[in-house]
């Protein structure tokens, strides 16, 4: 595991250093992607014999270096979904998944996919109707050119395809797809928050005002501690989600519970951590020359994907309200009734 973490850290660091100054809007990092494919990390869980624990290391490790590659989208989402429905995919190259609400009428599936991450490679459409999930390769769609706050490509397109051209599966697959996405974002956000914290610790140790480094001021120390607290709590909740996925897979009530709790915890950490990071950096941290935004804006963008914090909080609240004893839901996942 340590070797894997070191490899990922090394790849991420080199990729970051190679792109300094060329980051907004961001573009796909082909050199890094080649390295990830050469080392087998690009499709770790879908093609290699690796599990969620390894995937978590790759996700958080690359996020720490603001890697510009659709690693979660390729491996955990698109390759998994295509495998699930028997849809053939290219053996290499980046993949992504477009999750959208879809309508079915006159034998056609239609809708609009929005905010599709990294839409320039092969796109697997996951169109969700009331009672089914329709999966198909997207071919020839006019995908809009856009990006999120962090400059990562995000695109939208309309789709209209014959039902017969898609593979239809149970709508539960859509739930697992979203859960996988939320799980991946939790790991990535923890990586981005770690980066923001590292930068803040370094900055407050170097920047001198009133004749001393900022970190000699008690008010600054307390903010640093508050930041560390939120991150460690997010990490602990995410660790439970990693353990759940490792032990039971993504299609299990334990994983549903742990991912829901983690998405809320991580989601609530993003505000305070990024706010403190910017506050302690002073105005330099909001400029494009400084690398802080690569961490903070990623965290702030990712937090809304695959279900907002409030949506997950509502789900967790309903679990606690339905339980015989809410304490059971604090201890572990609620036993099936």
């Amino acid at each position: 595991m340590n070797e894997l973490a070191e490899l990922v850290d090394d790849l991420g660091r080199r990729a970051f250093d190679a792109r300094v100054g060329h980051r907004f809007p961001d573009s796909f990092d082909e050199a890094l992607w080649r390295n990830l494919e050469d080392t087998g990390l690009a499709r770790l869980t879908s093609s290699q014999d690796a599990g969620p624990a390894e995937a978590a290391i790759v996700l958080s490790g690359l996020a720490r270096h603001a890697a510009a590659v659709p690693i979660a989208e390729t491996d955990l989402l698109a390759a998994w979904l295509a495998g699930k429905v028997g849809l053939p995919l290219p053996d290499s190259g980046p993949l992504t998944v477009a999750i959208a609400d879809a309508g079915e009428r006159d034998g056609r599936i239609t809708g609009i996919a929005r905010e599709v991450p990294w839409p320039s490679g092969t796109v697997v459409l996951a169109g969700r109707t009331a009672d089914a999930l329709h999966v198909a390769l997207v071919d020839g769609a006019q995908i809009s050119d856009g990006h999120n706050l962090a400059g990562e490509p995000r695109g939208s397109f309309t789709f209209d395809l014959a039902v017969g051209d898609s593979r239809t599966v149970d709508v539960g697959v859509a739930d697992e797809l979203t859960r996988r996405g939320a799980w991946a974002r939790c790991n990535q956000i923890v990586g981005a928050l770690d980066a923001a914290c590292d930068l803040t610790v370094a900055h407050t140790g170097e920047r001198v005002q009133f004749g001393r480094p900022l970190n000699k001021f008690q008010a600054v120390q307390h903010s640093l501690a508050a930041m560390a607290g939120e991150i460690e709590r997010a990490r602990a909740a995410t660790a439970l989600a990693i353990a759940a996925a490792t032990d039971y897979g993504f299609d299990h009530p334990a994983t549903d519970y742990a991912v829901t709790a983690a998405k809320v915890t991580v989601g609530r950490a993003v505000g305070p951590v990024t706010t403190i990071a910017h506050q302690l950096h002073g105005a330099i941290g909001v400029t494009i020359e400084h690398r802080l935004w690569l961490a903070t804006m990623r965290a702030r963008s990712w937090v809304d994907e695959f279900g907002t914090t409030t949506q997950h909080a509502r789900r967790l609240g309903r679990m606690a309200l339905a339980a015989d004893d809410p304490w059971d839901v604090v201890v572990s996942y609620p036993a099936p009734h």
């Binding site: 140790g205 501690a225 560390a228 353990a243 604090v330």
Partner: protein, 383 residues
């Protein structure tokens, strides 16, 4: 060593043996409450002193869990104790009488006590019949504990203690107080040197214990004045001059335990149980509250597992206490807001009131959060 079947269950402190233990303490608590009628309470580990309960709990095998069997304990691991502790708190059980002895004095005796002290005291602790207080803070020494001035001077076969302690919880009903006192004068260059710990009987001549009453009239704290109190050599705890190290070495356990998260659990769960059909907004508020509890508990258990493996986790332990006690404090007002949606809120008002009176204590006791944040920042390389 046997590997846990499920890492997930292990992280939830709910794998095979722990899950069994959890079931048995829950069964004990339900039956005991049904028979003896105690009411779940907020901050029960400070406020609810019930020697009969402590005795019954010990009879059932739930006190002295980590004390070796040769001293009358159960020889179980720290995580076993963790599970029992959190179930007691989540159920608001009246644990105050034996709490400090079981939680702090027993581990200190096992680390620093003499064989004679262990044989004399540990069996009574494991029987839930020894009640202890801890004498640390003084009028001029709160957060700055090294400013403590109580002093013990050498006498024939022992020491003579003079000075005072404040905020000494339960001293008026305890058998003994473990006192931190200076045994050498203050050296400004080495402020933490020259402290020692003593086990002082509350019945010893020269001790005056006076109440310090909480703002709602409750009496838990005391001022304890020692004038020429003789302490035999057999009641020195650990090494003379090593007191500071002894009281800080075990802080990781104390700072990261369930009592830093669950002091208001009874109030929180009572209100959630009382909520009927609620709208999405209220459900999200409940979810946010529960997510904070889950994540804090996960962090706390992760620290417990690290400490149980004999590794250092001082920083994260300080984080648990800072985050956990602030959560306890916040939870009171979050729950007060939820009461609006409870049809018959009246029975819950007393718990809420107790929460409001006790909540300022959560972020003070055992080291203020301001001090803890300094500890954390230092660990991050600041200072």
């Amino acid at each position: 060593m046997s590997w846990p079947v499920s890492e997930f269950d292990a992280l939830c402190a709910n794998d095979a043996e722990l899950a069994q233990l959890r079931t048995s303490i829950r069964e004990f608590l339900a039956a005991d409450r049904a028979e003896f009628g105690w009411q779940p309470a907020v901050d029960c580990w400070l406020a609810n002193w019930n020697p009969d309960f402590s005795g019954r709990l010990a009879n059932a095998g739930f006190v002295g869990l980590t004390v070796p069997t040769e001293y009358g304990g159960h020889g179980l691991g720290y995580l076993h104790r963790y599970v029992v502790t959190e179930e007691l708190l989540a159920n608001g059980a009246p644990v105050a009488a034996h709490w400090i002895a079981d939680r702090q004095v027993a581990p200190a005796l096992l680390s620093y006590g003499t064989e004679e002290q262990r044989r004399r005291l540990l069996p009574r602790i494991a029987e839930g019949r020894l009640y202890s207080a801890i004498g640390m803070s003084e009028h001029g020494a709160g957060s700055d504990l090294a400013a403590a001035q109580a002093r013990a001077t050498r006498a024939d076969d022992g020491w003579v203690l003079n000075g005072s302690k404040v905020w000494t919880s339960g001293a008026h009903v305890a058998h003994q107080i473990v006192v931190l006192a200076r045994t050498s004068p203050l050296d400004p260059q080495h402020r933490h040197a020259g402290f020692s710990q003593f086990i002082v009987q509350t019945s010893a001549p020269g001790i005056t214990i006076s109440p310090i009453v909480l703002m709602n009239g409750e009496h838990h704290f005391n001022e304890v004045i020692f004038s020429d109190v003789f302490i035999p050599d057999t009641d020195v705890l650990g090494q003379i001059g090593d007191g500071w190290h002894q009281v800080t070495a075990e802080l990781g356990f104390e700072r990261s335990g369930p009592e830093r998260i669950l002091s208001t659990a009874t109030l929180i769960f009572s209100v959630i149980r009382a909520l009927g059909d609620v709208d999405d907004g209220v459900a999200a508020d409940v979810g946010d509250l529960v997510a904070r509890m889950i994540s804090l508990r996960q962090l706390s258990i992760s620290v417990a597992r690290t400490l149980a493996d004999g590794q250092d986790a001082a920083n994260r332990a300080a984080l648990v206490k800072d985050l956990g006690t602030r959560f306890e404090q916040d939870s009171v007002e979050l729950v007060a807001d939820l009461l609006d949606y409870v049809e018959d809120a009246e029975p819950l008002r007393a718990l809420l009131a107790a929460g409001r009176v006790h909540s300022p204590l959560f972020t003070l006791r055992g080291g203020t959060n301001e001090v803890l944040r300094g500890v954390v920042a230092k660990g991050m390389g600041a200072r």
